[in-house]
Symmetry: C2
Subunit: 566 residues, 2 copies
Amino acid sequence: MAAELSPQLLSEKHRPTLDQALDAIRTRAYWSPHPEHPKAYGEGGAPGSLSAAEGKAAFDAVLNTRLGLGQPGTDGWTGGEVSPYGPELGVEYPHADLDVLLPAMRAGMPAWRAAGPETRALVCLEILARISARTHEFAHAVMHTSGQAFMMALQAGGPHAQDRGLEAVAYAYEEQIRTPRSADWSKPQGKRDPLRLQKSFTAAPRGISLLIGCNTFPTWNGYPGLFASLATGNPVLVKPHPRAVLPLALTVQLAREVLAEAGFDPDLVALAAERPGEGIAKTLALRPEIRIIDYTGSTAFGDWLEANARQAQVYTEKAGVNTIVLDSTDDYRGMLSNLAFSLSLYSGQMCTTPQNLLIPRDGITTDAGDKTYDEVVADIAAAVTGLLGDDARANALLGALVNPDVKARLEAAADLGEVALPSREVANPEFPDAVVRTPVVVKLDATKPDDEEHYLSECFGPVAFAVAVDSTADAVELLRRTVRDQGAMTVGAYTTSPEVERAVEDVCLDESAQLSLNLTGGVYVNQTAAFSDFHGSGGNPAANAALCDGAFVSNRFRMVEVRRQA
Amino acid sequence: MAAELSPQLLSEKHRPTLDQALDAIRTRAYWSPHPEHPKAYGEGGAPGSLSAAEGKAAFDAVLNTRLGLGQPGTDGWTGGEVSPYGPELGVEYPHADLDVLLPAMRAGMPAWRAAGPETRALVCLEILARISARTHEFAHAVMHTSGQAFMMALQAGGPHAQDRGLEAVAYAYEEQIRTPRSADWSKPQGKRDPLRLQKSFTAAPRGISLLIGCNTFPTWNGYPGLFASLATGNPVLVKPHPRAVLPLALTVQLAREVLAEAGFDPDLVALAAERPGEGIAKTLALRPEIRIIDYTGSTAFGDWLEANARQAQVYTEKAGVNTIVLDSTDDYRGMLSNLAFSLSLYSGQMCTTPQNLLIPRDGITTDAGDKTYDEVVADIAAAVTGLLGDDARANALLGALVNPDVKARLEAAADLGEVALPSREVANPEFPDAVVRTPVVVKLDATKPDDEEHYLSECFGPVAFAVAVDSTADAVELLRRTVRDQGAMTVGAYTTSPEVERAVEDVCLDESAQLSLNLTGGVYVNQTAAFSDFHGSGGNPAANAALCDGAFVSNRFRMVEVRRQA
């Protein structure tokens, strides 16, 4: 049977997009093929895409159903997701018999390998295009698993995640074609005939790649590893977080559909949903068939994976302590509003949200006059209060707390120091069971030994520490220690001093941290854009990989050479 | 003080070579800027290079001296190398106080980082050029530490090693410039002003890189890691094998000289020679300052490094079991002479030397008629005997056994099965103490359980096993099991059958092994050419990295981004 999606059709549809992506990662200029605006989808928008109403209807239709994926080795069904907004999703997923599923996943490898880098990239782009068309449906799925507010779930869970997936495909493609498919080699031998060899080079996948998904950004954090591995020829087994299965299950469904239509084995992508308390990630991670692992989550389990899954290449994003150094600014209002937004977005539940605000005890210089430590803290608190004063706006920014652990940490944070801004409970009229909370700001002191354990560990959730330091120089040194020992996904700084700017830059270069300087407008330290910004550095304890770079893709395959006498 | 080697001068001298290297790794065509012929050096040859006589004189002059490198933290002197050819070298090297040396090595990092990828690449090329000019001196140093015969020491230890170093520089440079140094990012916001950011990207080194050298190929196996790390901004601490210090000490000396002349801190490259029995590699590997490790040697220590040096990126080349599948040939004589050479070169002491010759019990089809297993083995034995019948030629091909362990293994091998070809002691008139031995060929049987432990482990040295198998299909399956479980640096096959060829290729693609098919002329399975051939695959147990590819360089630095509002 001829494939419905021929290489030629795929090339016509997607090669221009791939070329644009390749160009974007070289220039790092702004680019995205995935629209952010909700109205860009549906009638009059992207062809074949679901409108807001259609996406909602599609999401509603999947609730309380059994999501059959047609994958082999299903020995039962499991589910049990409860939305952070209250409702039970009621979706059931196949539970896999690994001894059946894993061999089935390997069966399609030779044909997928033989397809070559371009066809694999184009098939990946078709999968992403189908996901993109269903962005509104994914928005609800992400919202009701992560607790993100709808608009954020749509953008971060939709186009931004798709961008990160496409970026990984572009890197993977480029890495594989650095070596030609064949070469004629002729070595002169003086007066004798030259030595001649005909050489062929094939990107050979490592084996099954395991994606261990996270609760807060199932698609955004999941797509890079998934698509990097698939594009380099590896089957991908998706093990979602048990509270955030649906977005990745829908992804697996679409991937299987496209693979089959393109004439490949759909079992190259499969789902491994787990029964409550099963802890399947540890079992999977040690299976000899698993040769690559992508993981986002706790430092404890990330470290365990790195130490124990020795048969696999392990890419981890773990916890970090993100820091902002406040030294001086020529836009005090802009700084305050920028920081207030950064602290509030998704209730501080981003791996990139600032936690520690390092503020000199004697205050900072600003365009609005010198401000003492207490004034700065009070003004940040006021800015947060102002931003979140309206409940509708607060709900739209904060979303819901993703799980009870975050709520417990938030409540405990109020006892760690003087509370500069208490957390406020926000009612959500549409979802009365949603747990919505504004950030707490707690004052700590870098010179108090008891405070150190608080600001030198990650307190994931809507908790910010306003840490008093003796000087900007001390702030810079504390920044260095924090990044080196605890890691950081992001660092920010506000300063009008070239010397301070240089000192902070040097710390970030020395300790491999991504730095945002003097953000006072509509770009926030916690946001990164695919094709331009690196997410993490892979060089400090917060993550051993960056999204996306050569190192993220180059070891997912090996270049195998066959040489023959010519 | 202005640097003697300005960026402009370096660019004039070396940028064309860098560009050619970049082109070569893309086309994989034959290329080398380093001549193989001994007469290409000295008067009338490469400008400024030492002739054969001058190189020998330079080598003689360094014997029985103290090699001062001017590096800080020297707390004593050590040495004690004895040539496999007999003579004591009598060279003393600085012994390092790590608590002084390591911080000193880090001091030069910021300036080296700030120099950027191109300047670093060009400085590395100048180092390689100075090494190249002293190829004859290095030839003696490699010969009298590895036991390689002079011509091989000159070629493999000289131009071929320099090629591999240059190849690593080219990969490192290309990897770093995939991301531009800066970018303007402007994201449309509908009717509002676009969001604008100015972004800068810097390749930031990881930290001190440790090179743990090997006894057999101190420069060839050492240069890729050394130059990949240095070109990506990392200081490099060179810990040579205690029996093969001199070639790497001379390398360190030249690197320090060039760094200083180019205005950089010479302590970016330093030597860590060890006292007898000190076992300094383990101590160094666990130092927090060490962030990258390159290692060639035993599987046991390589595995230990991978498991324990968790603070570092670890690149290892370990043991493997290299296999040749003999199915059929249309050039029986060519096959025999090619195999005889492969088994004999450097007494089989190459990580790429074939060990197991898998031969169907019922024989193989050839252009000289069908040959039984016994005939094939006898003919291989005869080919080796013929090749090495003349003592002068035998000495020139075999070199000396590198250490007593190899000799002991060779002697023990004769008891493992029926000896098809006994090892012969060859006298070396120039160096009567050299231990020179021809290869032993031992018959084993794949169906005998007792033989398995022999052919499924590496027997490093001049030992080949002619393993009888029931069929070519069984040979292919044994090949698969061998590569998967034991690893392999090389695989070879002789067959006229497209089906068998395809089956062997599939195994190599599935298990990531580099395959040479039907070599009957002047290219041997144990030789790889920089810029064209991959050495190892990094995808089977013999090595976790390949020389050289993107994965070998991309994680030696991290891309650090600084973004500012525009």
